[in-house]
Subunit: 513 residues, 2 copies
């Protein structure tokens, strides 16, 4: 132990500087921001440069934020300007004062550093990292670095298990009266694959419990929560969700607000910015939320195709193995279903457009997308069999029947009403077709770039934006025939999407016959 004469005295000194909190109403996603005058005494006393991390304290509350220095008189010398997130997290009122300090070094940063240099992390270290991320102590740069390190040197089974446990540990855990709680998940990567509302309605129609919490899009043009939100409210308080599930047996709500896995919700933002996902991260993200949500039986849809998220049987094996082994450790019954991921499902890509496909299937409309109905029934079938509502091998037929005779639609409407009222999805003001340059047969469709196109058009932030497919693989088309139609709400987004389409002529591979 080194003796530090006068330590206590020193400790007093700089804790005192109080600054008047100024609400700047600046929106940041997670990383809180604070502004100080460059010539502020605090910057001198604490030796703070611009863009450094600082600790902001109000009474007993303390947050970490990124400091920006400002010149001129926009801010007073004794003022601290705070972003909206900082203001809310500290629970400030006008006239309150805060103190700003050097942050204490995060122990988890040395763990992060070890991981970056290629060393595996144990559960203790991962817990430190995850709880610091959950407490919003990490800058986006550090979160991005953690995600990158876990992608370049993929998380192994032990790390994935530890990461899952760490994520569950930082969040709220739900429990349900039912002994058997069903759930489903799709690893994504397939535009328009919006089976969840169908699966939930079918399964719940049979009296089973399926409290489905869905996420918003990470890197895709629409998450189930984004699509469902065009049909009914999805951002509900937990008490409301319980009422819906007690009453209808199922729900389709946004899980983000429930803090099931707060660290994951934060990392997802940075993942989105980096357009990055990896198997271990995906498994930990999925299972931590299922475990926290109290699920006991899960079916996972793994779409496979050259441009899907999972591109080969080998990759699917890795993912399935990781899912099963980690699920098993947590006592979860998990079944995977590999599906055709060569082309989008249904016609719509984007929240409102996908919702229209769902309604068509629910209402048994003649032109309802068959592939969407078929996928939903295969997944629902597995759950019906798991739940003892169908003989082994009979689940699929059972599910089809439940749609055909309107029980699923009736249940879905009831769920939407219970969630706050059913509504009709909107329609985009701007629509422009992409046409075949010459006659031929559609040989291939690039899911990733179609998804990109839909995102550039504004999905999912703009619910009505996206892409409406007008052909499927191996269709024959005439010269000038529309292949798909871009839907957008603003000229800027439409132009941006069309520019991308022009630059990527081979999103659709049309070969002359």
């Amino acid at each position: 132990m080194i003796e530090v004469p006068g330590m206590a005295a020193a400790a007093q000194e700089s804790a005192l500087a109080q600054l008047l909190a100024r609400r700047l109403r600046i929106h940041t996603v997670h990383e809180s921001v604070v502004f100080l005058r460059s010539d502020s005494p605090v910057c001198r006393a604490e030796g703070l440069g611009t863009q450094v991390r600082v600790t902001v304290r109000f009474g007993a509350r303390e947050i970490m934020a990124t400091l920006y220095q400002v010149d001129g008189d926009a801010l007073g010398l004794d003022e601290a300007g705070l972003s909206e997130s900082a203001w809310k997290r500290l629970g400030l009122q006008d006239g309150d004062t805060v103190s700003i300090r050097q942050p204490h070094p995060l122990d988890s940063h040395s763990a992060l550093r070890r991981r970056i240099f290629g060393h595996r992390l144990d559960e203790t270290s991962l817990c430190m990292v995850i709880s610091d991320i959950a407490a919003e102590r990490y800058s986006d740069v550090h979160i991005g670095s953690f995600l990158t390190a876990c992608t370049t040197l993929p998380l192994d089974a032990d790390e994935t298990r530890a990461l899952t446990r760490a994520m569950v540990g930082t969040g709220v855990q739900l429990s349900w009266p039912a002994e058997m709680v069903l759930d489903k998940h799709c690893v994504g990567g397939l535009p328009g694959n919006r089976t969840t509302p169908l699966v939930v309605a079918i399964v719940a129609a049979h009296g089973l419990t399926i409290p489905k919490t869905s996420s918003r899009a990470i890197t895709s043009p629409a998450g189930t929560a984004d699509t469902m939100e065009t049909l009914a409210p999805v951002d509900l308080p937990i008490e409301h969700i319980r009422r819906v599930v007690d009453q209808e047996g199922g729900c389709v709500v946004w899980g983000g607000a429930m803090q099931l896995s707060p660290a994951d919700d934060i990392m997802i933002r940075v993942q989105r910015a980096l357009d990055l996902e990896n198997a271990g991260q995906m498994v930990a993200s999925v299972l931590s939320k299922k475990i926290a949500a109290g699920a006991t039986h899960i079916v996972v849809d793994i779409p496979m195709g050259p441009t899907a998220k999972v591109r080969s049987a080998a990759a699917a094996d890795v993912l399935q193995g990781l899912l099963e082994s980690v699920a098993c450790d947590f006592g979860l019954h998990l079944t995977t279903l590999r599906t055709d991921g060569r082309q989008p499902v249904g016609r719509g890509i984007g929240p409102a457009l996908e919702a229209r496909d769902l309604l068509a299937v629910f209402r048994n409309e003649p032109d309802a997308p068959v592939d969407l109905r078929d996928r939903a029934c295969r997944l629902a079938g597995i759950l019906l069999e798991m739940g003892g509502k169908a003989e082994t091998g009979q689940g699929y037929q059972q599910a089809l029947q439940t749609l055909a005779d309107g029980r699923a639609w009736k249940k879905f409407v009831a769920i939407c009403e219970a969630q706050g009222g059913m509504r009709e999805p909107g329609v985009a003001a701007l629509q422009r077709p992409l046409c075949a340059p010459e006659a031929g047969r559609v040989r291939a469709i690039d899911n990733r770039r179609l998804a990109r196109l839909a995102k550039l058009a504004g999905a999912p932030e703009t619910a009505v934006a996206g892409v409406e497919m007008m052909v499927r693989m191996s269709d024959t088309v005439q010269r000038g025939q529309p292949l798909c139609c871009v839907h957008a709400a603003s000229p800027g987004e439409l132009e941006y999407a069309l520019a991308f389409a022009e630059a990527n002529p081979d999103i659709f591979a049309v070969e002359p016959i």
Copy 2:
């Protein structure tokens, strides 16, 4: 090719929205920031959320920036608030108007993504990444992700070579009248190892050309430029540097302003935030700057020790191999020298404290740190031999003599005067000793945590801050005897450093005799 009806029309629409530029005098390091009202028509027209990347255009100039949305009337609906860096890079004047758009997707991001997923990049891809970074088109998150990927899966020789070439390609290249241009570099990691000014003075005193461009600290408490700046101006325009070198044969200036490797200068900031360095990155960073600076002969100091940057002979071999093979490809004569990296060099750690050590050596003061003089002379000796000013094996003696008879000091003063005038380093207002808890022998000293201590005390931003060593390894000490002294300019920094010292009692390992 997909046909896009009315593309041109769409292209017109959103280019028009002009916003009045407002200078907010907010300091960012590199990443430019722009503020818009959340309800601004531009956010709607372009579909822009908060914290997204955007393109800001003024006339022919265009930069990329991170957008933050603001509520309230701090900004007008038709105004765009710009950070200082954005303002300057666009060359704006009050009253100018700018347009803000969705950025075009960066091609290099797909290369970055491939690297993150563990695929090697060729020179073309690395050039795309580096030139986008140099043009400040990358957010800090993306730069951090690139650095992390290149650490977790270390850059190989080919990538390092390509990265070096890419970095040279983005910068200015210097050339000198002399046929032989000498240079030296230390891979760092050893606090207080400030030999450069001594080496330059000794070598230049023999009429050789050694135009030394140094960097500021990356993750250390002081870079050579930081230390030299306490003795003379180092931030000089290139014409001034040429005059200094023409006149004195050598200089010790900051290379950053010369844009020798702008991408590297930008990456270094993020490296600093992540406290991250890797061999390939280091080699590319060093050699790109030496090549751009026009060096033909280089000696590289590789300090080795359990807590130095290079900790083992194996690690040194990797680094040396990479340095030699890449240098060779560029026709550089490179010699490495492995030195004792077990403990700090000299007594000072931090710009001003290290400068005082230098002055003591130059002035042949009786208590001048012998280890610093010795290391400088071994390095200078190699250069004297390379430059034909000493017989093989005689360089070291030659260098010692040059110091002893005052020629080196005379040359150093002349260089400082030529750079704008010599000055005396300052002294810290606050100094507090760390004392031995009991009598014993100093068995080990933790360089990394000593460096950390000096940084927490304020170095290098605060020039007078740092740590003054009062013992060396295997010294015997009495109970309560000072082991080192922490120098700080502010109570906040002093307290922060002392708290770290208290939490890390084994920075000095003192074992009872």
